[in-house]
Structure formats: C-alpha cells, structure tokens
Symmetry: D2
C-alpha cells in the first residue's frame, strides 16, 4: 500500500498524544509534523516520555497553510471553537481533514450556536462535513474531504441505542443516558476538580442536562428515528434525551448505561439477535452476552463493547456500552475514518487488543 | 446520661468494623462482646490493626442466648437469611435488636421469598420490625424493639426521591435509579470481581433490574405514594423502578443519580424549597445547591448529601444523593436508630465530620 | 476544663482544612477565625462542603495583629518563608503560636538559608521555638510560646530511627530513608504532576537527596546521637542521611522504610523490646509485630505505627513507619502540641480511630 | 520470515494473558495451544473478554508431551516448583523452552533449595538454562534451548545496578534496593491483601529481606562483580543486598530505587555517560535525564527506563528504574528471548509504545 503524509494540529493534549502513538504504529503513515502552542520548540519525547524512541518530532506552532503543505491528511485536535479557522485553511489547500473538535459535528448552525455560545465562522463548510461514526456513515466517510469525528460520550451512547431507535422499539421521551467517564476525558490542563486528591475516592455528576454532547447524540438518534419513516417530512424525528455525565476515579474509559421504556414486551434473546444483525460485520463493535461491558476490556483498544438487557418486570430495556474515551472515543475512531477516506482496510493500525489489567 | 451494654454479632466484616469503631467512641455505650465465626478467638486488633489501642475485645463464636444476656442492645451484622434465627433468640430474651441484614426489611413475606429465594423463618416477627430510616419513621423507631436497618442503596435512593413521591410530582413509571458504589459495599470476602487489578481502572454495572435492594426501595416509595391518597384502598400505590447498581473503583461511598419525568413543568427553585421543607430539622440530610453531592464529602460521616436539578428542556427532574455506604448506609444509621430507641439525642456519637480528602 | 479561643491562618489548604475539622471537634476549643488569601469572603462550607453544618466561619484575609487579638492560640499553616512575619507579629502580641511551616524548625539559620534559599527574617526568634515532636520534646513543648510543628516526612523518619540512633546501634553513614507519600502531601494547588491522569497508575521519586525535610531529620537525629555522648563538645554528632521521597497514587498517608547497617549482630526480639521501652507510655506510637505499618490503618488518626525488622543475613536493620501525613504529620501533631502547651490531656480531641477501609 | 508454532502452558494468569496478547500480535507466531488447569474447556475470550475477537483458542489441561508435539517453542508460565517437570518433558521432546518460573534461574541448587524450600527435581538441567536477560546474556540466549526468564523485581534491579557493579564504583555491602510493585505482580488469585478495599489507599512492605527474588539478583550482580576480576578464583564476588518490596495501589508497574555508597566522589555526568556506554545499542533500555522513570511511561511496553542520580553531600549514588512488571518483567522479556533464540530481530512484536495516561 502507499504511504500518506500526516500532520497533527494540537498534539500536546491526551488525544493528540494518542494520535501520535497510534499513527506512529500505522504501517501507511508518515508523521510529518505536530503542533502545540504551549510546547512549541520542545521535542515530543520531552513532553511525553512514553514516546521516547518512538516519535522523534518536535512540537511547532500552528501555521495552518504551511502545515497543509507538508501533509496529505490533517488531524486537528484543537479546542472547540478554535478549530473552525484552521479547518477552513486546510480545506482550501485541498487536503483531507479530520477534525476532532465539535465544530463541524452539528448540522444546524443555530443548534451549534445555542450549545457552544459562539456563532459558527464558516457555516458553509458544515454541509461538507460527515459525522465520523463509521458504523452509521461508512460510505459517506469514504467520500468525505472533511470528517467531524464524534465526541466520546456520543460514540458510546449512539452505538448502544442505534438499533433500538432504528427499529422504533422504545418510547422516545423515556431515554435516560447515565454516562461515566475517566478523568482523561477532561483533558490535560490541571484544574481543581481533576487534582488527584479531589478526583480520587470521588464520584460526581456534572452539567446535568447541559453537556455539549447532548445535541450531537440527539441529532444522530433523531436521524436514525427519521430514516424509518417516523418523520416523512424530511425533518428529524426529534429524539430528546436525559443525559448526565459523571466523573469517575479512573484514567481512561467511558461506561454508558442507557434506559428506555419498551414499546410492548421485548424479548431479550430477540433483541440481542437484532443487535447482532445491526452490527454484523462491524470489526470494532463487540456484543457481549456472558460478560458485562467494562472499560478495562477496551483500554488502549478501538472496540466498543455492548450489552443489551431487559427488565421486563419494570418495563425497561437497559443497554450498556464501554469504550476507551481516547481511542474509539477520539484518536482511534479518527484513524478509522482516515483509513476509510484513503481506501485502506478499515482496521489498519487499530488491531491492538486492550491492555488488561 | 446512662450507659448501655452493647454487643455486635457478625463483627468481622466492614460493617462490623465500622460498628466497633463508632460504638467505641459513643459516650453512652459499653461494648461487651463481638462475634465472628471465622475469627473467633482472635483479638479484634489483630484482625483490624486500625483498632489497636481502641477496642480490646476478642472475637467469639455466636451463641445468641448467651450473647443476649450480656447486652441491652444487640446489633446483628450477619448475612441475609442468616439473621432471622439470632434475631428471634434475642427478641425472646427481651432485648432491643437492630438487624442490619435484609431479613426484616420487607413487609410482605412473599416478596421476601421471591427476592431472597428462601422462606422466612419467623414471619410473625416481621410485623414488629420497623424500617430503620429515621427521616421517614422516627417515632416508630423510638418505640421499636426490633429495627430493620435499611440497605445502603435504598438509603440513598429513598431519601433522594421521597419528597417528589410524597408530593406526587413525577410520572410514576419513569423512575430510573442509576446507583454507583465503592467496593467496600461488596464486603470483605475476596473474590475475583473485587481483586484489585480487576476492580481498579474498571467500572461495571451488575444485577441490572435484579438487585435485592429493589423491593425495599419500592416498598418505601410506594408507602410514600400511598400516604398522599393515591391508594385510598390501603394498598400501596405500587411504585416500580428501573434500578442499576455499578461497581466503582473507590473504597467507600454511594452516589445515586435518579431520574423521573416531571408532571407538568417544575421550577427548580420551588423544588428545592420543597426539599428543604421536607427535610427541615434533619441533622443528617444536607441539601446542596452550590456543590454537587459527592461521596468524598461524606466519607466517614453519617450525612446524606442531596441535590435537586431539573432538565426542563427534556422534561426530567434529576436528583443526586451521596452517602458513605458503611455509615449512613449501614453502621451509622443503625446507631442513629439505637439513639432513638434509647432516648439519647439522635446525633450522639455520630457528629464526626467527613474525612477529606 | 476551660475553653480557649483559637484562630487558624492559612486555612484553605488541606492542612488548614484538617485543623478546622479537628479543632471543631475539640472539647476545649472555640474557633474564632480562619484566614485564606484566595478564599477571603467565602464561607468555609462553600470551599469545603464536608464541613457544611460543622464550621460556620467565613474565610477572611490575614491581618496578623487583628487576628492575634481574637485568639489565645494561633495555628499558622502558611507556606514556607511566608510564615516568619506573621509569627513575629503574633509573638509580639503575647499569644501562643504553633507554626506548621518550616520557618522555625531549623536551629541553624545558615542551614535554613541553604535549604530554603532565603535569609531568615527573624533569627532571634528561632531560639524560642521548640521542635514540636512530643515524643522527643514533650516538656519543652509544654513550656513553649512558639512551637515549630514538624514536617510530615520527618515525623515518620525520626520516630522510626530515634531508638536506634539514641542507643548507637547502627553505622551512622549507612542510613537510607526511602519515603512514600500520598498526593495530598503536595497541597491543594493543581499542577501537572498531581493532575489525576498523571498521578494515578503512576509512581515516581522526586528531589532525590535534595528534599527540604532532610536538614530537619538530620538535626533531630544528630541531636539524639549527641545526647548519648558521641558529641561531647556540644555540637551535634552530624548524622547524614540518604533520603528519597516518592509520590504514590493515594490520597493520604506516608510510609517510610528506613535502612541502616547494624553495628554487630542485633537481635530482633531485643530491638523490639528496646523500642517498646523507648516509646513506653506514648499514646500515639503503636508498635506492630504481627501486622505491618500501613497508612490505611492510620487514615484520619493521629497514630504513628512502627515496626522493626532485621535482615541478619545481609546485616541490615529495617524499620517501617506509617502516619497520616495530614494528622500526625501536620494538623493532629500541632493540636497535640497545643494540648501540651495549655495543660490539657495530650490526647484531647485526637482519640478518633482511623477510617478503614 | 518463517513462522513458528507456539504454545503457552499456564495461560490463565496475568502473565499468561499478556503472553497471549503479545504473541497474537507477533508477525511470526502461530499460537497453537494454551493450557490452564482451572479454566480447561473454557474459551480464552470467556476468561479474558479483552481478547474477544483476538484469540480464538480454548484453554486445555496441561499434558506436556502432547503439548510439545504441537509447538516448536513452549512458554511455561506455571507456579514456582511446578514448572520443573513440564520443562523436562518439553526439553526431552527436543523443543525450545522459555520458562517464566524461578525453577531454572538459580545456578546453585542448594541456594534454590534454601529459598524455595524444595529440592530441585532435575538439577542436571540447570546447567543448560540461560538466565534470560538479553542485556547481559544476549549471545548465550541465542544459543539456548532453555531460557529461565528473569523475575520482575530482578529485571528492574539488575539493570539499574549492572554498570555500577561491573565498574566497581560502589561499596558492595551498602546496596539497598527499595522496590515497589503494582498489584498485578501478586497474580490473579483473589486473597485478602489484594482485595480492592485493602489494597487501595494502602501501601505496605512485605517479606523484608526474605523475598525469593533476592538470590536471583545477588547471583547476577555477583557475576558482574566477578567478571571484572574482583573474584579471580572463578567464584562470584558475593554481592549481598538489602531488598524490600512494597505493594503499591496501581495495577501495573515496578519502580525500583537503589542506593549504594560511592567509592570516592562520582560525577553524575560521567556516571550517565558510563550508563549510556554500557547500554549502547540496547533497544529496550531508555536512559532518562530530564524526566524520572515512572511506570506510567512503560505501561504495556517492553522498556526499562533508567535514571542515575548522585547525592554527593551524603555520599550516595541513587538509581531509579521503571518497568511494566508483566512486559519487560515477564511476558515481553520472554518473547524478546524467543526472538533471539529463533534469529528474529530482537524487537519483533515488541515495539508498541506504552499506553499513557
């Protein structure tokens, strides 16, 4: 296979470090540059000793046009609202772009503005962006020049609910998503809630009903609801969710527990068959029946582990999903999209099993 | 105040150790005996070095009648289904009994049998038992000879939902309780799921819709629903819940996040006022507005911290509660009941603040 | 007993919070004020939700003279080099002062200057200060107006080595102290090394041979060596140590493992008898033989747990000590000193057992 | 390159799981069988969900002769004293064997008997075994039919001290090795010390001066001392160490801090140059100067990170090493030996960077 030149913008956060780690092991990738505003001029291995002997680049300041010249594919792991400009520059330079921020995930600019409290700088580009969840948008990703890689919580939540929504098996306004994340999800900038003695032996919800991943989940679930004819007008079916994220004392991993009231009585055996059918052939979705999804089984791996349970006594279907927030929830999924865009086998560079224990 | 002789049966588990720790500091208590089948003959301080210099007793084998002679009050921290017999013996001896197992919590023997898969050995005693949650049953506890101390999850769940249920503000069949517990909740017997490398950097739900604390929660919430006239027939109103517990990598603490769809639009300010009113004068319920309930703030303390939030966009009320599973969820609450039974100020021996960080 | 008015300067760090927690439970203490530069104007319970319902004070800015008027005893938990000035002010006002910084621990101003890289502002006061380790300096503390409360590592290290040094049983230049601390020892200000994902599943030495607690340990051990006539000139005997602290992924606790080559063959049974004799009557030193000292057994308690082992094959004596860095290593020990200064029973307000697990 | 058939005996512990994970990703390996007494008949993916979709084998009972027929190379991850028999069977069948137990590490059968309290069953085979530390015995490993793969602590300890010993720079009887290990080092069998609530927020030394890894470390260090002419008689130079392992609340990783008194004044810059020279060309030894070795930087990787520090004031040299106990301390190092034995590039299948954070 041919090799591709890849640059990473915003490489000094945890997602950036994971991009560097995974891309350095990808057989078709030549890493050409990595940027970081605060670490510009410092070797990657000085910031990240685990990459000593692996990545020999030095962080540089971000100059989008110049960066675009040195790469065929650009990964942008920049903060929300800071990514729009560089994306536009790279697109103009004719390069393929995979944006890991939220800036191009939301199709409706007004929704973006409501949740991110800033006007979108290049709304015309939004239409070109494909939501980078291969299990739902594989062929569109393969054609895309711009991929908006999903958030970590949305990846876990959408995959666990998609089959139920697509088949119309649950009462729409009863969806509760109780999600739990390790602390790396909050990034690498020190702050009191993530100070070790505060976050250890500690557990707490945050942004109840207000987390910015909500519109992304609702958009995708609504799309799935709409495709089955619930919204013949072309509008989405308007799935609305209760969503509460929690901060859990572990480094990595998301566990998402989703509840919805069943329409009628659903049989768990049939439901599991339906999930198997929905995710047939998916390399990175594992359906568990004997074991329970647990972040410890996907640590460092690109899998989303899923399980389906029913509580027939009380009338609920309960699904559980586990991902590594930095892999399937960020860097791994972005590389999966790159593989699709470039025609590489989808799993290239992503086959490493999880690190357990 | 007078002093009372107290014995603890089943003192070698974590709840037993907490009973010993707290009772040793109680100004009116004289600890006279503690039993443990597997540690009989071993000094408490050899099993529990943290109690060296604090508790000088030696574990002995359990002989209920003989034990009852040496105490005025007996705490039983025995496994479910193993407590019924000793409770009966102690009651017959005319002593006050506080049972920390589930054996006398469930009013309906058939429900007990369904969930605990054993017939109740002394169903006639169940009627004498008072469910030991002081915030709901204070005066009954004060009169009781037998108190069935609540489970850890039920304490967190009932307290967070009681005002909403009692005022009829939520749609009954939409209650979801997503609860998370530290590993001490699983007891002190080693087993693979609690082996450090399995439980650390790990997070997993268990017994989805099947946990034995479910009937206890439903019984108490149904009682609250019934008292407001929803069930004029004298039957309980039949609250049914979706309940999923999770194992979280921390030693102590329960965080419970409960969701329910609002009847109509509820104002969060009014809701909080309603909670303040409901828990007015309660020494061990703290309503938080600026901060979020978090087990780290109640570690080692007898508090239940509560917060109320609304998601008006999606139509849900979300309440959060945090307790120390071994204190307000077990040993502390049992001592609170003892204080009521004996006429001591309710907070005697329980005023220590939490250990933070 | 009479009551005493107490103020705490520098109350918003972890040591300050522990002073507030412990002092609020002390039967003879009336907390009158607490200062914090960054939290001035904020209620204590807003910064520390675990103290809601316990401490009703509001943080205020530090004005030493005014503060001194409102208290009989002042605890200063200020940063090193920032404490000298306020100490002098409070001393001038005639109050008893317990300083938890290092500013008055080092008897030789040149040594202080070498290790703290600043000239001492009030060297004349140093002579008045008593090193606040009750097990070594009880009667001097009882007479003192100014107590310099020991550092956390020194408390663990000095207590584990004192009997060996005092009896001249080890080869002086072979002392190695390998100490390990939980992250709360680094304080409450967020910084990258203490960011949860960095400090969790992580373990690392720091300041090898350069930690500022070294001169304090050497001063006290040298004093002990000197008292047995090794330094008849009045100079200290000049004990020099290898000392390496490590950051361990736990919230609280110090474990210190100290090694020294034996002079001759030492019998472990005799050594333990010698330790028992040395610490006879000490309320807060527990000598363990069956169990190993472990921070989990002193969490939240004022104990120092000690064990003595010999490796006769290789010729070493190995001692192990465990303390709670925030209690016996800081706030608890300071209160122990206060009790001595005021003539209260030494253990007043400090008898709470550890919180386990 | 050609492919080799590999079997793993004793595959259900953590080391076995790591062997399966790494071997499944090795480009020249065909996994043919894996044994486990307690899991015989169970699919690997049922015991280890993280290997679902990766390893499709089923655990079988161990029958050494039959197993040997199905493999060219056998890895034995069996308990100490249980490995001798199967090793002998596999050797007799003419296969290459890599034994991860201690059974063939100790050259002197009497020393083995002293520390393992059992007579060696096949002392004649010991002479054929090569101690599998490639950095010291590379060419012998390449020629070996039987490799005794080193223990985890010895790997960290020997690599950090080898250059100092080989150059005769330290006072021999002053070596102190204070080692710290994550809990996976204790294996996967649940027991009280490794029960989560016991091992979390906990830290404790064990087997002070009595750990079975001591003779292995002393044997190798003595050999190094001997090679430089300190023992012209052919006898080893008899290095004796003080060694204390500690259990640290993390899943993986060993950090070893070693102290020794310098002969004369050693310059840290020269020492580091000497280490660079000693480990020149070593793919898996990284010498750190800016950063400190920390298990978090080698998690899941085959590196040993090393740093050298001097405490000239007190006269000590202090070295620090970090490894992943399950990789460079077990499975990775064993595969490194296999690569040498089979003439594959030494790093084949071992190049994955660490998983951070």
């Amino acid at each position: 296979m041919t090799s591709v030149r890849v640059a990473v913008a915003g490489g000094s956060g945890y997602t950036g470090a994971e991009l560097l780690r995974l891309l350095s092991q990808h057989p078709n990738v030549q890493l050409t540059a990595v940027t970081s505003e605060k670490s510009a001029g410092t070797p990657v291995s000085a910031v990240y000793p685990h990459l000593q002997g692996i990545v020999s680049l030095t962080f540089e300041a971000l100059a989008p046009e110049a960066l675009a010249e040195r790469a065929d594919v650009l990964f942008l792991a920049l903060p929300h609202t800071k990514s729009m400009g560089p994306v536009a520059s790279c697109m103009k330079a004719g390069k393929r772009v995979i944006d890991l921020s939220a800036d191009f995930r939301i199709k409706d600019p007004r929704t973006y503005e409501t949740w991110y409290q800033t006007a979108h700088a290049c709304p015309d580009l939004i239409g070109n962006a494909v939501y980078g969840l291969p299990e739902l948008h594989r062929s569109a990703i393969a054609q895309a020049r711009l991929v908006a890689s999903p958030g970590c919580y949305p990846t876990a939540a959408i995959l666990q609910l998609a089959p139920l929504i697509a088949h119309g098996l649950i009462v729409p306004d009863t969806i509760v998503i109780d999600a739990k994340s390790g602390v790396s999800g909050a990034g690498r900038s020190p702050a009191l809630p993530y100070h070790f003695p505060e976050a250890h032996e500690s557990l707490e919800p945050y942004k109840i009903g207000q987390h910015r991943h909500i519109p992304e989940i609702e958009q995708e679930l609504s799309g799935l609801a709409g495709t089955r004819g619930q919204a013949a007008t072309g509008e989405t079916a308007g799935v609305t969710i209760a969503f509460t994220p929690h901060l859990v004392p572990m480094n990595r991993g998301i566990l998402s527990t989703a509840y919805a009231r069943m329409k009628g009585k659903l049989d768990v055996v049939e439901l599991r068959a339906l999930y198997r059918d929905f995710y047939k052939g998916e390399r990175f979705v594992r359906l568990l029946e004997g074991a329970m999804p647990n972040p410890r089984h996907v640590r460092g791996a690109n899998y989303c582990d899923l399980a389906v349970h029913t509580d027939t006594r009380a009338g609920w279907v309960v699904t559980v999903s586990a991902i590594d927030n930095l892999i399937k929830g960020a860097a791994g999924q972005a590389i999966q999209a790159m593989n699709l865009m470039l025609g590489y086998p989808e799993e290239t560079g992503l086959v490493a099993p999880g690190i357990y224990p």
